[in-house]
């Protein structure tokens, strides 16, 4: 049935959008392991390595990187299409911090030596990265971070603690925001440091999350010696670099796909519960569905801006708030209509698509990470509306 030819990676960026979409679909049908579709939990490296390596082998691993560094060189608009199709197909997230965050940072700010050392190792799957930003006392107020790096000869000596480090137990490298000047204003004494997790003095302790899954960790640094050349960019300019990466992340957090997935599950559940034809349910569903459609339309206006080569302003925060709260409303509705099934630990009827409680719990942190929704609303009221304070 597949008349679609999958062109070599270097040609993907020049395809028409719709054609590109079809190619992505065909690619997934051909290559994505069936048993990894819509996994009920975030996968560990041991589970999704197979898929990561397949992407690496096909040259599809790093869609956003320029071609000269081994990426697909896709425009933001095409990357969004790719993400949409991955999500539609139920593709599991990989251990993607190296691909999505560190790679682009090194490409933009790294030295030639850093580029030649690190980028190929991400592309080959040799280096798996995690993100060490948050600390126990520096969450929303990230700039308050205290993990410090003190220069001692050719090395920085790192001491401190990171927390909520997603999949740190799977990673062999971590990128850190560290304090390198205690006397400067808090945003101005922060640097960006790359650390091999095998260095003596690092302890990783998994934290069981509310899904009862060991997904994030505490990461401790006790006199960890890091070669000086692992600092990225300018000393004490780490904050600005990290911020420059965030704008783009925010549009991804606002992608309506997650809600689209949840809506299709809600419909399935309503059918199983004999509620699909129910007038009251139809009204509730319509409300969610219309919000989804409107979010899609709003999302589209941001994508158009990207297509025109414009950069996104702080108003992109709207997408994250609307999408994550819609996702939660959908999962709340699933819980409300499913009677005693709402309380089951395992998916109803053994059907992964009816993972009512699991989805309800998974929807919770979406309003916490990536800048909590309270922080996004602060941004909207101050930076978009210009309200004082």
């Amino acid at each position: 049935m597949d008349a679609i030819r999958i062109p070599p990676p270097a040609e993907l960026d020049s395809l028409e959008d719709e054609h590109f979409r079809q190619v992505v679909r065909a690619f997934l049908r051909e290559n994505y392991p069936e048993h990894l579709r819509n996994p009920p939990k975030r996968l560990h490296w041991a589970e999704n390595r197979e898929w990561y390596m397949k992407l690496a082998e096909k040259g599809w691993l790093c869609p956003g990187w320029p071609k000269e560094y081994g990426g697909l060189g896709l425009s933001p608009a095409k990357q969004i299409i790719l993400t949409e199709e991955y999500e539609r197909y139920g593709v599991a997230r990989t251990n993607d911090h190296g691909i999505v965050m560190l790679g682009p940072l090194v490409i933009k700010y790294g030295t030639e030596a850093q580029k030649t050392f690190f980028l190929p190792k991400i592309l080959s799957g040799e280096h798996v990265w995690c993100q060490g930003y948050s600390e126990p006392n520096a969450g929303s107020d990230l700039a308050a971070l205290r993990t410090e790096a003190v220069l001692d000869g050719d090395h920085y000596v790192v001491n401190g603690q990171k927390i909520w480090t997603t999949l740190a137990m799977d990673a062999n490298w971590i990128f850190l925001l560290v304090r390198t000047d205690k006397n400067a204003k808090k945003q101005e004494g922060i640097s960006f440091l790359l650390v091999d997790m095998k260095t003596p003095g690092i302890t990783v302790r998994p934290i069981i999350n509310l899904e009862m899954h060991d997904e994030f960790c505490e990461t401790f640094f006790d006199n960890v010696r890091v070669p000086k050349e692992n600092l990225v960019g300018t000393l004490n300019k780490g904050w600005d670099m990290a911020k420059a990466l965030l704008g783009f992340e925010r549009i991804f957090l606002g992608s309506p796909r997650q809600s689209g997935y949840a809506l299709s599950r809600l419909k399935l559940l309503a059918e199983r519960m004999g509620l699909w034809e129910d007038a009251e349910f139809q009204d509730r569903y319509a409300r969610l569905r219309l919000e989804f459609e409107d979010l899609k339309a709003l999302f589209g206006t941001f994508v158009e801006k990207l297509k025109r080569g414009e950069s996104l302003g702080p108003d992109v925060s709207m997408l994250k708030v609307i999408q994550t709260e819609l996702f939660q409303k959908i999962t709340d509705t699933m819980l409300e209509i499913s009677g005693e099934n709402a309380g089951l630990l395992e998916p109803m009827e053994g059907n992964r698509d009816l993972n009512i409680g699991g989805l309800y719990i998974q929807a919770r942190p979406a309003t916490i990470y990536g800048g909590s929704n309270e922080i996004q609303r602060n941004i909207l009221s101050k930076n978009v509306l210009g309200l004082p304070g």
Binding site: S140, E340, N341, A342, G343, E346, G357, S372, R377
Partner: protein, 352 residues
């Protein structure tokens, strides 16, 4: 009620609250609760026996039948205390069983907490109806992994007979709170008849169970909210206690109003039933309270997680245990939606 009678009631409710400390010590941690999670049977039979010795299982059973003969005011106060401590023993299902065992020889052992007799009344999700089909599967029996035997209502003509059925061949599914529910297909051949007609008693008992579940949820959300307010007063970001951010203050104030409405709803329903409300008035009061408790408990526990940030999303931090409990109990003995419909079906017009 005269002032003196009112004082007596208040005193009796206070005493019950105090006595809950035996199982749910004030300020106690949730270590016991955590240890029992995701294990069979999901609760401690010795604590269940203790509940029997305290007279809780027979709290609503008339004194003449061996119970304590106390009111719903007392029963709701007790459920609330147990909810605050997330006590996993199936007291509410056991109280329901006690209500339909009156006059049978099985009652004594249940009231003493020596037998865990659970009623297998439910044939589908989200219902308060008891069709009593002899061979229909029974579902969602709370804490069935610890059942000594099951009580099986069976439709016989216009009556609902009660059988005792062995607790064998159960399918057990774990629940989000670490407990379990059971289902099975009855086989009357191995069952013993206990009573000719428990129809009206069961209907009343299901309503009481719905109200008590609402009270249990109220206790849980109060405790989760108290933890959250404490956190807002101690957690600092941006050089300030986060409780000074007006956005969070307003959220907390909104949740407080939900708690106040839930408490008012539960307590007024309990009082109405204790004063002898029957029929539609009784149904309306119970449904109003359960609808509120179900909806508010989900909302309050969700927002408690959000107000904590990352730490709220860990299993180790207790606030999540309250979210999981609300997920299990919000729809037990009828979801908010079921109770709203039921309320509208029976409620009198709004008084102007």
């Amino acid at each position: 009620m005269s002032a003196a009678v009112q004082d007596d009631r208040a005193e009796s409710i206070r005493m019950i609250r105090d006595s809950a400390a035996a199982v749910a010590p004030p300020g106690g941690d949730l270590k016991r609760v955590r240890e029992l999670r995701f294990q069979d049977p999901g609760f401690d039979p010795a604590v269940f026996r203790e509940m029997g010795e305290m007279g809780w299982i027979g709290l609503r059973v008339p004194e003449a039948a061996g119970g304590a003969g106390l009111g719903l005011g007392e029963a709701c106060a007790l459920a609330e205390e147990l909810g605050a401590a997330l006590v996993p023993e199936p007291l509410i299902p056991a109280m329901l069983s006690a209500a339909i065992l009156a006059g049978t020889p099985r009652l004594a052992k249940l009231l003493a907490g020596e037998a865990v007799l659970l009623t297998a009344w439910q044939e589908r999700a989200d219902t308060l109806e008891v069709p009593g089909n002899a061979d229909a599967s029974r579902r969602f029996i709370p804490m069935a992994a610890g059942a000594t035997a099951l009580l099986l209502p069976v439709r016989e003509g216009r009556k609902l007979a009660l059988y005792e059925h062995p607790a064998a061949g159960l399918t057990i599914e774990r629940t989000q709170d670490g407990g379990n529910v059971g289902s099975f297909t009855p086989d009357l051949a191995g069952a013993t008849k206990l009573a000719e007609d428990v129809g009206p008693a069961l209907e009343a008992a299901l309503e009481e169970a719905a109200l008590l579940t609402g009270a249990y949820l109220l206790g849980g959300m109060e405790r989760a909210f108290a933890m959250t307010v404490d956190y807002l007063k101690t957690r600092s970001q941006f050089g300030r206690i986060i409780g000074t951010f007006q956005a969070l203050q307003h959220r907390a104030a909104d949740l407080k109003m939900q708690l106040a409405l839930t408490r008012a709803s539960i307590e007024s329903a309990a009082a109405a039933l204790d004063e002898g409300a029957t029929g539609d008035a009784r149904r309306a009061a119970v449904s109003r309270a359960k609808a509120r408790a179900a909806e508010a408990s989900l909302r309050v526990t969700r927002e408690c997680i959000q107000l904590h940030g990352g730490i709220g999303y860990t299993d180790q931090y207790d606030v999540g245990l309250y979210l999981r409990k609300a997920m299990v109990l919000a729809n037990q003995y009828g979801s908010a939606s079921l109770h709203r419909k039921r309320f509208m079906a029976v409620s009198p017009e709004v008084e102007e």
